[in-house]
């Protein structure tokens, strides 16, 4: 029997990451090339196909061993139709049939997946979600992304827009969010919100050790808030703690929603390690109910920024197994 390989592609606004994996999630080759998004869809599609060729050449393995290609792509998209609708970080893309174009150019069966779902599927298949059937992932980056696995399947919903966990309202009437709502999780627990809240508070006259950075024209990012909180700065401590608190509220809500075995935290904010995880767990334990023994474990993601292409390859494997490729 021929060995079955899967290529995963993580299409970002800046870079295209690709990896070649076998059926057991062993990573055989990986690479990252510039997206060159400014040259438009045709150019980017050619670069995706080039990345697929390159990753095979790197591993010295033949194309006929590849059972499928998975692409994780940003923004609104249709999994069913294989269509990219209008991603904010890929200018000029409108209703691009990415799946079928890559399949035609590469000669390989291809699936398209939302990038957040792909990353969650990566952790589920090969990372912190391994060994579970039901997992929820929060990705704490510039925004807050989400992915939900139910009984070993990616939750997509009626409009292909499920698991937008960053836009759960955790504080009704709270901070405005870019999405038009108020009090979204993303407005409190994303890296961008953590930094912005500190900056706003200092600009409004509150004292903080971060004031010097701001006055010197240096950037204040979430890791600076984290460092200041670790050093005991009261403002930074409050903001960091609230980021963890609202994330814990969101964990309680997903507990009662889909009852996962594990909740995985991913994205740039988890660079804080236990300083994030222990706080979220503490608030979760204080907030969640006591009437049933159905608490999910809360854990940090393990695949870093490789989760996207690993999960895209895993999505191709799943589609292959289910006879959809």
């Amino acid at each position: 029997m021929t060995r079955q390989l899967f290529v995963g592609v993580d299409l970002g606004g800046t870079n295209i990451k690709a990896g070649l994996l076998d059926d057991q999630a062993n990573l055989l080759a990986r690479l990252s090339i510039a997206t060159e998004a400014e040259h438009g869809p045709d150019h980017v599609i050619a670069r995706i196909v080039q990345a697929i060729d390159q990753v095979l050449a790197q591993a010295g393995l033949p194309r006929q061993d590849v059972a499928g290609v998975g692409i994780g792509a940003p923004g609104a998209m249709s999994h069913k139709k294989g269509l990219i609708i209008a991603p904010p970080n890929l200018p000029g893309w409108h209703n691009v049939p990415l799946r079928d174009r890559v399949a035609a150019l590469s000669g390989l069966p291809t699936v398209l997946e939302n990038d957040a779902n792909a990353a969650a599927w990566g952790e589920f298949w090969a990372g912190a979600g391994r060994g579970t059937d039901n997992m929820v992932m929060f990705t704490l980056g510039t925004g807050v992304g989400g992915g939900i696995i139910i009984d070993g399947q990616i939750l997509r919903g009626a409009f292909d827009n499920a698991a937008e966990l960053g836009h759960m309202i955790v504080k009704p009437g709270g901070r405005p969010c870019g999405c038009g709502q108020r009090g979204c999780l993303e407005a409190y627990s994303s890296a961008a919100a953590t930094a912005r809240r500190a900056i706003e508070a200092i600009q409004a006259g509150q004292d903080s050790s971060l004031k010097a950075r701001l006055e010197a024209g240096q950037p204040v990012e979430s890791r600076h808030v984290e460092q200041a909180a670790r050093a005991g700065d009261p403002l930074a401590e409050r903001i960091w703690d609230e980021a963890c608190y609202y994330l814990a509220i969101a964990c309680v809500n997903v507990q009662h929603f889909c009852n996962p075995q594990r909740v995985v935290l991913a994205g740039g904010m988890i660079g804080a390690g236990a300083f994030l995880l222990d706080r979220v767990r503490k608030h979760f334990d204080q907030q969640t109910w006591t009437v049933a023994q159905d608490r999910p474990e809360i854990a940090l993601a393990t695949l870093g920024n490789e989760a996207g292409f690993i999960g895209a390859a895993g999505a191709a494997r799943l589609a292959h197994q289910q006879g959809q490729l």
Copy 2:
């Protein structure tokens, strides 16, 4: 081909409701008998079997036409094991293998379902959720129950405890809930909470047209709050509006969670009709995001208190179709 019939049983603390349905959800016979829960599990199980016999006798149809029995039961239970764990309103029941005992006594293949899931499945199969694949139901009774249908399947979760939607936290740090949490949906939008909030406010000295009822020793229930709100009583108006507001927040959260086509409102509170529905829709429209066209319709349930046994019969039909009976 023999006609395929299904018996649905809704096991409550006070009454056992049963119905006989065909494959197309046509209701051929129905009945309600007292549970007589005070006599313990053996007695109640015998009464369930009696209800199954009676409903067949009523329709004049033979037992061999019945392809399956579904039972919707309250409290913690295991669908997989067919076990009732410890329902608060069935004293003396601990780890009772209800499914297998009813199957043995009736001679009919049986499935056990959580009563909230059964009711949601009833609306999905034969009521307000008809025609969708993805539906969420909120049941606004003494508490707030939930049921979630994803791609035509009941969502159960890793611990058989999914869709506890009444315990989503909609107001962090808010009113204490019987479950040990604070700020649960149930603490604002259930019938009991709506009444209790009015009573507490009056007892704390706030003025209201409901004060006379209370002072006369008459009960104040959610329908009295509703009536007073309709008549323009400011306190009742505020409490009724907040019940609708927090329910709308919960609708936004399930929108982003599982992206259903339809959200169905059920339970005693929907007796208010448009006075509930229009408010929830208004708050939902004001709270939800503007960046994607993925709003669910919000609708009232249509099956009333028959949803439970209809859905239990439907669950038996589903298990039969999937070869699990």
